[in-house]
Amino acid sequence: MKKEDVRVCILRVGGTNCDVETKRAFTELGVRAKVYHINQVLKQRVLQNSEALVIPGGFSYGDYVRAGAILAKGLLAKLGKDLERFIDEGKPVLGICNGFQVLVEAGLLPGFNGMGSHPEAALATNIPVGYRCRWVYLRHENRGNCVFTSKVSRGAVLKIPIAHAEGRFIFPRDKERRYLEKLYENDQLVFRYCDEDGEYAEGRYPINPNGSFHDIAGICSPTGTIFGLMPHPERAYYGWQLPDWTRMGSPPTYGDGRLIFESMVDYVVKSF
């Protein structure tokens, strides 16, 4: 389909707060992105009329119970069927920060067996504990399955900021090894925290800013069409958003975050 016909649904509820800059990122790429309150999505059957779904960052419903938990249940309860169809059609779903937490809580990621009924992983409280806003380096691990990173070469290092208190990706301790193997087998691993030179953090703080298992920053579904990551690509979209652009004379036009949105749009244009 044509780029200008692509409709991106950016979902928000009370407490979502990164919708505007996320929308800006898509609009800049020439697609039709719109922010919808979950009530509108229900009433106007927005999912049926969209080619992509994004759950942006924020504190959905105050992140009470657990980060993303309430929205995850709400999504399944209110939109479950529509969402299942949406995913079955291969339409991409992107979860950024709180959106990643929602996708994990909803059992959509890692989603080893399709849409699960319970979470197979968790985004737990950071170690060291506390909210943290800083720029990190991400090493691209995916071998080509993830449709959100087709424009990123394997092994490339991206610079994107994080801002969260619950971003420590973990599996159940007893299944840790097995699940990690699955991630590799299915080519679901997308980003790992690393240093400027691409060396894995191996848990070292603050290179790994939250204590994530295996330095995991972002994963996708076995189909590669659902993707969640803790860092905020929309905050690294333009060059002037970079923390050190003043050292470059004038800012570069774009930051690394743009590649993710570009890849996603590219996939939609080619597939539908």
Binding site: G14, R24, G57, C133, H232, E234, W240, Q241, T246, R247
Partner: protein, 793 residues
């Protein structure tokens, strides 16, 4: 509780008549105290006089309304009152005589609304304006640090919403007692600085992060006097289309209360009802601090911006101190209307709240809007869509009276004009210059150790561990962040790019020098203004507007008032000298605890613009071989400095501001930045040249060699340590590539400046003293480690 003064009306709810007409002076004071009105005898007598004329006794609702409206917090009695100066003259209104006068005389074309609304409004770009407000939330934060600080942020965000602006950034400046304060020295009721520090920091982060408003600028300051009086300044900046700044309320408009529900939280002081129930301790000990719910405010914000964009509201204000009583009263007063309310319509958190409590409750996340009858349903629908409660609770009327009904009974009927003409306070001011002497001690030969110690001192050291708990990136518009360079250097100001369609940037900075105030509040105020403006200038900001926030002790004590008067005089002189108008401000007085008064503290926030954010300059050194210039003149001004503090001294040579030269210097710096000659620029403040140079070096990861004999000093300055650590105002360190040397020097002609050093590729920092010997010799890495050692990275 003197029962004879209060009569409960036989109604299905709690309403008391207060027998003020029969009350003598002692009774009047008693009523004021028992009801927690905080009115003095003069004020109580004019209340009595009013009701004598009316010919009846007031209800508790009426008295509480008057108490709230006439409070220092709502009416700013001291700033609007008459002051007898130490010179035997009279000043009628500090606010008009000094602060507003400066703004009027500057008559800046960019000012849109100053000192009249919830926030000051200045033009930004094209059809857009910027709204800014800074508040204090000291008292609540001293009782309950987390809730106090969080609701402080929530409150100031609502102030910005209260001029129809969309909040885009928060600032916070905090003052704490020393974190290692001896627990045994704390008097009962005063919480340990560390406890307060943790709670306040968490509260600030919680609210801003949850609402998705970046916290981009601020500082943390430690002072012994903040132990009993924590200082919490919360600021917010918003953006609005100029034409959407609507103030058009008329009689007949509906009054809508929107947002959170009303409860007993935030009813201050000893209250009537709780005294009635003395045996029931649970009620008595109910916390008086409000409860924060940022998600509620986030939804409220969205609804209000939608109402704004649809052009459906005729006026708006927030509910802060005084709750409904203040918001309704001020709205009616401002538009020359009266108001009629049906108080039982106010949605409550729980039952059993007396009418007066509903009317003055400070429950959070509430806003008051007025709308035309024809738009009422549309407005309510907007709120429904956002899942925010909004209720019409009454209407504006033509008659200039405030009438409140509760379940069909009239519980208040007051003249709005009377409500807003409290008796003027009259207070005496005196000021005795503190007896201080300039210390004498031998000049150390090596200053490396002192420099490292100052870098690690709490007021200079990196606050990264705290600042990273605030989201400074959300909204994706932060161009210059709190940290810059290769190694998280301390930015002088924040730069935002609020409009997608424009490269124009908003520059936010601040200045605060409480230690100078211990010597002379006049020069403290001058220094704070200079510091705020030069921080703005250092990154490329110009066309500056100022916000003033005073935190002082009890103004009824003449010495506290005397020092306030001196600070206000400086505000006038230096704002005018710099051509930077005040656009908004707030005073927090009565900051006294068992440990004594707060050290007088003036926070100046500067809001500037930069025509193109791509011209923004950060403070980290960038290029080996570059030249380092010191712009501005250095005087022997170490009074209140970090260098003296290291020796446990204060001194008396407080830094002054030579405003004409300073204004000229800042203009020259801006010209140099616009011309592209400036690679890095940093202001000199606490710790003077030594600290500023070290910060530039370790932020850029480059070495530096400086020769103090090249520094432009006043003739009486002859010691290397003084040159290195003097805190003279209006100075900048500027990195200029060798190739721009001639152009830069030609541009700076007419301002004091000198080439003092050179950027080195090696990780080494050396400073040569006045006699040519090496006085500082240390690796850049070590400087950085010292700076990060105190609070961690």
């Amino acid at each position: 509780m003197s029962r004879r003064l209060y009569v409960r009306r036989s109604l299905p709810f709690d309403l008391y008549e207060v027998k003020i007409l029969e009350a003598d002076n002692r009774d009047l004071l008693r009523i004021s105290e028992e009801m927690g009105l905080a009115l003095n005898l003069q004020e109580m007598r004019s209340v009595k006089e009013y009701f004598s004329k009316v010919g009846r006794n007031p209800t508790d609702v009426e008295l509480q309304t008057i108490g709230q409206t006439w409070s220092e917090h709502c009416y700013h009695k001291t700033f609007k009152g008459t002051i007898e100066t130490p010179e035997g003259k009279e000043v009628r209104s500090l606010l008009k005589t000094y602060i507003i006068k400066a703004t009027k005389e500057i008559n800046a074309p960019w000012c849109i609304s100053v000192f009249e609304d919830n926030a000051g409004i200045v033009h930004f770009d094209g059809d857009y304006a910027i709204a800014a407000k800074v508040e204090t939330h000291n008292h609540p934060s001293a009782i309950e640090p987390f809730g106090g600080a969080a609701t402080g942020v929530g409150g100031v965000i609502r102030d910005v919403l209260g001029v129809w602006a969309d909040p885009i950034a928060c600032t916070d400046v905090l003052g704490f007692g020393p974190l290692d304060y001896d627990q045994k020295r704390l008097p009962p009721g005063v919480k340990h600085p560390k406890y307060i520090f943790r709670g306040v920091v968490a509260g600030i982060g919680h609210y801003g992060n949850n609402m998705g408003i970046p916290t981009v600028n601020g500082s943390i300051y430690f002072d012994e006097s903040y132990t009993g009086n924590v200082v919490v300044y919360c600021g917010c900046v918003g953006i609005l289309p100029v034409e959407r700044y609507v103030k058009d309320a008329k009689p007949g408009d509906f009054i809508i209360l929107a947002g959170g529900r009303t409860g007993r939280d935030g009813i201050h002081g000893v209250t009537f009802a709780s005294l009635e129930l003395t045996e029931e301790s649970e009620t008595v000990s109910r916390p008086a601090v409000q409860i924060a719910n940022p998600i509620e405010e986030e939804k409220l914000k969205r609804a209000i911006i939608t109402v704004r964009d649809m052009g459906l509201g005729t006026s708006i204000t927030d509910l802060g101190g005084g709750g409904l009583s203040s918001a309704v009263g001020e709205t009616a007063h401002k538009f020359g209307c009266g108001a009629y309310l049906e108080l039982e319509r106010v949605p409550l958190k729980y039952l059993g709240i007396a009418p007066w409590e509903i009317y003055i409750s400070e429950s959070q996340e509430r806003m008051l809007l007025t709308v035309r009858e024809r738009d009422l349903e549309k407005v309510l629908e907007v709120f429904r869509d956002e899942e925010v409660e909004a209720t019409p609770i009454g209407r504006l009327t033509v008659d200039g009276r405030l009438r409140i009904k509760y379940q069909g009974y009239m519980v208040a009927d007051l003249d709005v004009g009377f409500l807003f003409s409290p008796p003027q306070v009259r207070r005496a001011a005196e000021w005795v210059r503190p007896q201080l002497t300039e210390p004498r001690f031998p000049e150390p030969q090596d200053l490396t150790g002192d420099l490292l110690k100052i870098l690690a001192s709490p007021n200079v050291a990196s606050k990264e561990r705290v600042v990273r708990t605030y989201d400074h990136e959300v909204k994706g518009n932060t161009v210059l962040k709190p940290f810059c360079g290769k190694y998280d250097g301390p930015s002088d100001a924040a730069v935002l790019k609020p409009l997608d369609t424009s490269w124009r940037g908003l520059v936010i900075s601040c200045g605060m020098n409480p230690r100078y105030g211990k010597i002379d509040p006049y020069w403290m105020a001058a220094s704070a203004i200079d510091e705020a403006i030069r921080n703005n200038t250092a990154v490329g900001g110009r066309r500056i507007s100022l916000l003033d926030n005073f935190v002082w002790g009890n103004p009824e004590k003449p010495d506290r008032l005397g020092s306030l008067l001196r600070a206000c005089r400086a505000c006038y002189k230096f704002a005018k000298g710099f051509g930077a108008p005040f656009i908004s401000g707030k005073d927090s007085l009565y900051n006294e605890s068992p440990l004594g008064p707060v050290t007088p503290t003036l926070l100046i926030t500067a809001i500037g613009v930069i025509p193109d954010v791509r011209r923004t300059v950060s403070m980290d050194l960038k290029e080996p071989g570059s030249l380092l210039y010191l712009v501005g003149r250095t005087y022997p001004e170490l009074g209140g400095s970090e260098y003296y503090k290291l020796r446990g001294l204060i001194g008396r040579s407080v830094p002054k501001v030579r405003v004409e030269e300073a204004a000229k210097t800042m203009k020259a710096v801006i010209r140099a930045i616009d011309s592209g000659y400036v690679k890095a620029c940093h202001d000199l403040s606490e710790g003077g040249l030594g600290v500023a140079a070290a910060e530039m070096a370790f932020s850029g990861g480059l070495g530096l060699e400086i020769n103090l004999s090249r520094v432009k000093v006043s003739s009486e300055l002859s010691r290397s340590d003084y040159v290195l650590f003097s805190e003279s105002n209006s100075r900048f360190l500027i990195e200029v590539p060798e190739r721009f040397r001639d152009e830069f020097e030609a541009l700076m002609e007419g301002s004091p400046f000198s080439l003092i050093g050179r950027v080195r590729a090696e990780d080494w920092f050396s400073i040569y003293g006045l006699d040519g010997s090496r006085v500082v010799d240390v690796s850049v890495r070590e400087l950085r480690a010292a700076w990060k050692s105190t609070f961690g990275g």
